[in-house]
Subunit: 386 residues, 2 copies
């Protein structure tokens, strides 16, 4: 398989976009990526478009990619939609990577879009359900699932309520530095701890928001990138794993993350200690704590202290979610995966503005889609290198 | 890229399956394919699952592949959902093909599932809409679109109402020979011509049914197939094209089919005259007439006569839809594409029973997903060889 690089990236601001549908969000993100790559729209040979719940929420299930690309004059190419819940566009990015790596094409587009704020919160949460015939009947929706994980993590490892809150405070601090973030306002420990209870111990400020948004990345070969006179960002690893789904393992870690990360580190020939920064799937504050452990940034059970000690801060050992993460940057489900890639590329190029991580050479993106039987349903890990 | 072969196939009967959801339909199809391939379930390294409207119709949007595979003990692999309207699983098959061809894995699963009959017909048709903000408002749903195509084709080329009806009669004749078909009962010219009007000139019997179903195929390398002691069926071409979407071309042909077929023929180093039989996307009777022209089986405008003269019959020049096609075999949207592949493999192996095409060596599958501005949104053409 051939080496693959990211030539250009673009995104909309994540947030509330009244009057913009999935198509408009897609057009804006893709156009930004095309301009960033400095290519003609016609150079794109194949496209993968991730979205998850817009069909249920807006009635527009099919053709989102074609409709968006048509408006940019890109027709007659192959366009494929990828749906893997919250990791939909991480998986679209992976398919684009396979497509270029295989030799099938030279230039591939990965995009992700989601329109969620036009529906009620209740409908949006219902659309995000994992297994409609089980979880929906039992009422085990995501805040409940992660609340149970948090309870167990606190019991098992002594993780504190304040440590959870510090994940949110950090997220908002960096979101305030990110002009593409949904929330660009700092928050305080007291504000998080006094926010309304959602599912104990998780409060409103422990939960990521429901957002609209689009994100896009253009992948190509090193050779094509050189021809464009660009210094591309290398895709050093792309791994996707579903879970083991056994009922006999602790709910305080995700086997799918551990397996995907292991394979990604092997593929990139590095270890977790070589990762300069990471974007991880912090749909809830407890999720970031679990993920930094499962990704090997700290030992099992030490995630809370990792956050508390500032090791995930911009100037910490392994900065995590410098973009604001799902928690503050926002979580337009189908756009989140490519949105993480966009942040990785900006950081690796030194274009991340106030939130720039100095000397960042290796970045990791971790995106989790769905959840059954105490494990992620589709767990994507990407490692990008300068 | 490496040569890829189909090692095993399986499907459920297409039709009405009360009490079976997308998961159960998937389990049945995949298990049949695994048994047919003669491999251990654990041999599958990656899976692509196509479905289109089950999310809108059942509320189960995500995780269908993972849930079905978990029940077969297949966990921890990469599972990706592909959604491209009616060509969803044709595109899943294509991704599985790329995955093996790229060298990323040795054994890949392509599956398609759809559960449609639990919803009302009205909801199912609404879910199939192409562009919700345009077609739905204008009322231009698929029967209306294909009625306009039929009107124009009749005006332009003298295609007759009886020729349209003969597509349906042929479909039901072969459906009656196919134990996996939704409709296994013959029909007559008079029955078609007297069936209720849907959108003039299309009557009820010109339209494919709304079905439930699942289909699966296992792809691998020639080398792995040899190790299994199997004579595999070769994937000679896999092409996907979106349309041109210009308003300035005739609605009596699909540019996407013409372009995809051309590229597929070049890739397989054959011409349309070398195709021994085909499964084409006959969502309406007029569609089969247009497609046999666009695929080059006859000249433009002669599709009606091609059918009338029996050239698409089992013993004709190019047998078309020996399975009964979408019209009689059924159209569980997301399962249709792999369902066509299953028929191709059975025919190429000589396992098609009463409807066997003698000496079939080269088969073509044509699957169309979505429709905007007088062209297909995702048009997949596969050529398989014995």
């Amino acid at each position: 398989m051939r080496d693959v690089a990211v030539l250009g990236v673009g995104m909309t601001r994540f947030g509330i976009h009244p009057g913009k549908g999935v198509k408009e969000l897609g057009v804006e993100a893709v156009w930004n990526a095309i301009q960033d790559a400095g290519i003609e729209p016609k150079a794109i040979e194949t496209a993968y478009c991730g979205y998850a719940v817009s069909g249920l929420l807006t009635g527009q299930e099919s053709g989102v990619g074609q409709l968006a690309l048509k408006d940019l004059g890109i027709t007659g190419i192959s366009v494929t939609h990828v749906e893997n819940a919250c990791s939909s566009s991480a998986c679209a990015f992976r398919e684009a990577w396979i497509s270029v790596a295989s030799g099938l094409c030279e230039v591939a587009l990965a995009m992700g879009v989601e329109k969620m704020t036009s529906a009620t919160t209740q409908r949006a949460i219902k659309a995000l359900i994992s297994s409609s015939d089980v979880e929906l009947e039992w009422g085990i929706i995501f805040p409940g699932v992660f609340a149970m994980i948090a309870q167990r993590h606190m019991h098992e490892y002594g993780t504190t309520r304040e440590q959870l809150a510090k994940v949110a405070v950090k997220a908002h601090r960096y979101g305030a530095m990110n002009p593409h973030a949904h929330f660009q306002k700092e928050t305080s420990l007291m504000e998080v701890l006094n926010s309304p209870m959602i599912a104990s111990p998780l409060r409103l400020f422990d939960c990521c928001p429901i957002s609209d948004g689009g994100a896009a990345a253009i992948l190509t070969t090193k050779e094509f990138a050189s021809k464009c006179g660009k210094h591309p960002i290398q895709v050093a690893a792309s791994v996707l794993k579903s879970g083991l789904y056994t009922d006999e393992r602790p709910i305080t870690s995700f086997e799918s993350t551990i397996k995907a990360a292991k394979e990604a580190y092997e593929s990139a020939a590095i270890g977790p200690e070589d990762v300069d920064f990471a974007e991880v799937h912090d749909c809830f504050t407890i999720a970031e704590i679990v993920h930094v452990e499962d990704l090997g940034f700290c030992k099992k059970g030490e995630g809370g202290r990792f956050i508390e000690n500032g090791e995930a801060d911009l100037n910490g050992r392994t900065p995590v979610n410098a973009s604001g993460g799902l928690k503050a940057k926002g979580h337009p489900v189908g756009a989140t995966g490519v949105g993480q890639i966009v942040e990785l590329v900006w950081q690796l190029r030194g274009q991340a503005g106030k939130r720039q991580i100095s000397g960042a050479k290796v970045g990791l993106a971790h995106c989790m889609g769905g959840f059954f039987h105490a494990d992620g349903a589709s767990l994507a890990v990407h490692i990008l290198k300068r």
